[in-house]
């Protein structure tokens, strides 16, 4: 190894300093000429709602923070890029109810950040509600006290759209009529969807289901389905042998014949259970990923309806 001596060391230092100067100068902000309203949605379902509300309104720059493949924001780590998007945003629309576990950190760090919490006014279910499962009791549920998968119920989704609409109008009152028109039109579509689903699911014979993680609690409540058990309370908490055996026994005793997994997560544990029981595995989509399309949520729910009819009648 050669030892760096005086001259060489100086040259190296000079090179390093100039390199960092070049990098720094690249970071200096180029001011936008046109005044734009930068709205940042925390993740996919929220983005789709905001997309419908701001549709066709000029000067709105809507972005989605988490990439569309991310799925739920469980244990989401903010990247440097995410922090930058948040700082640049005029408003940050969140799902709320603990979905954005990182939000308390962000609030302290970014001055004057306008946050629109879409969960206001929704009656929250406790995490682990309606399952006789004491495995997670005694845990310190800092941010996961409530089940935060609100939007999976269409009624909640409507409330969220209303909250977001009010929030955006407060921010940009001059376009109020446009936002309201868009919002009303979308809510109308959602109401139709809800009615249609309620009618179709009114006469199914078997209402007992097992889900993969607790994304479907609000959904089940809305459409009167009975979630007998949840395979993984949180994604990544693999069931151990005891849990698997208990669920298998439960399925055999109660005659549940539908296990619902989500397209965003691999389905190994559900496969194990299905292999040993008469139950079959179906895919229900909680709508946390998909096309960046205005009707994506409605399409996903229509698809879920088909799967449910198929699985439960």
């Amino acid at each position: 190894m050669t030892v760096l001596c005086g001259d060489k060391l100086k040259k190296l230092a000079a090179a390093l300093i100039s390199l960092s100067l070049v990098l720094l100068s690249g970071c200096i902000r180029s001011e936008d000429k046109v005044e734009k309203l930068n709205i940042l949605a925390s993740f996919y379902p929220i983005y789709i709602m905001a997309l419908n509300i701001t549709d066709g309104v000029e000067g709105v720059n809507l972005q989605c923070m988490a990439r569309e493949q991310t799925g739920c924001l469980h244990d989401f780590k903010l990247s440097t890029e995410d922090m930058r998007s948040i700082e640049k945003a005029d408003s940050f629309i969140i799902n709320g109810a603990g979905m954005e576990g990182f939000i308390s950190d962000v609030v302290g760090r970014v001055d004057g950040l306008n946050i629109i919490d879409s969960s206001v006014g929704i009656e929250l279910l406790a995490s682990g509600h309606n399952h006789n499962d004491d495995k997670h009791e005694g845990h310190d549920h800092d941010e996961n006290e409530y089940n935060s998968h609100l939007w999976v119920s269409v009624a909640n989704c409507i409330t969220q759209v209303e909250n977001i609409t009010e929030g955006i109008i407060r921010l940009d009152p001059k376009n109020e009529t446009k936002y309201r028109d868009n919002s009303n039109r979308y809510i109308e579509k959602l109401r139709n969807l809800k009615n249609k689903m309620e009618e179709s699911l009114a006469d199914i014979s078997n209402r007992d289901i097992i889900t993969f993680h607790e994304a479907f609690d609000y959904f089940a409540e809305e459409f009167d389905l009975n979630i007998v058990s949840v395979i993984e309370r949180e994604p990544g908490s693999e069931p151990n042998a005891r849990d698997l055996a208990d669920i298998i026994d439960l399925v055999n005793e109660t005659g549940v014949h539908a296990l619902f997994v989500e397209p965003q997560y691999p389905e190994t544990a559900a496969d194990v259970i299905a292999a040993e029981t008469d139950a079959q595995v179906y895919t229900l989509d909680p709508g946390v990923s998909g096309d960046m399309d205005k009707d994506a949520y409605i399409d996903i729910m229509n698809n879920n309806l088909k799967v449910l009819k198929n699985a439960l009648s």
């Binding site: 988490a66 990439r67 493949q69 991310t70 799925g71 469980h74 244990d75 989401f76 780590k77 990247s79 994604p235 990544g236 693999e238 069931p239 151990n240 042998a241 005891r242 849990d243 698997l244 055996a245 298998i248 965003q264 997560y265 691999p266 190994t268 544990a269 496969d271 194990v272 292999a275 040993e276």
Partner: protein
Amino acid sequence: MDGIYAVMDFLLPFDWAEYDFMKNALLAVLMLTPLLGFTGTMIVNNKLSFFSDALGHSALTGIGIGVLLGIDNYMISMVGFALLFALCITGIIQSETASSDTIIGVFSAVGVSLGVVLLSANGGFTKYSNYLIGDILAISQSELLLLAIVLAAAIVIWALIFNRLLLASVNADLASSKRVKVRLYNNLFVIMIALLVTISIKWVGIMIINSLLVLPAAAGRNVSSSMRSYHVTSVLFSMVSGVAGLISSFYFGTSAGGTIVLFAAVIYFITFFAGRKRKA
């Protein structure tokens, strides 16, 4: 498969064996642990335990590459990357520019950091967390078949090259004087470790795989006096901790992989004191 289940039902009239997933896991343990225990002896002999650890970590990058390429079966990208990784490490070690633990440390760091960057690029690192601790309970029948093939292939390869490999690892000079190509055998061995580690990772997990390679062999070394008894005890310890760990995890409701390693660790400490007493 039904035939095997029927035999197991007859031999194992216990409530844990009523479930097919436990039967599958038991079969997997019975095939994996002897393989890991045997390979472990060579790893401990050649002071390669840090190396196999690094290979395990490289699996993260392998999965990341698989996700990036859109491959459904990450095993392909994991095995591919681990082979490249292993040969790079041995290549650089053989060039003797730095001590081997430094080089392995550097590569291990690259494997982990690149893996984390690739996997969290899509925001959802948690989705892959089951690769960290493995999921032997979810092993499928086709995967069991794959394991059986790997086991058979490993036995054949060991039978063919074991003596020369052992000679090359115990005394390189003697080996070259007998015209054994030391470098070739070292590379072969490294490739075998890479294959074994990456194939097992889906079921054993990145954080646990190395313990299963090192602990039984280290325990065997504590109590054995000959090469033969060393291999036999290592395989035996590995299988005992595998089976005991799996079954207790069922009754205690604990993670299977972790319980297996704890059993292996307990055996290690028992043999440590037993071995000391004997020597004293």
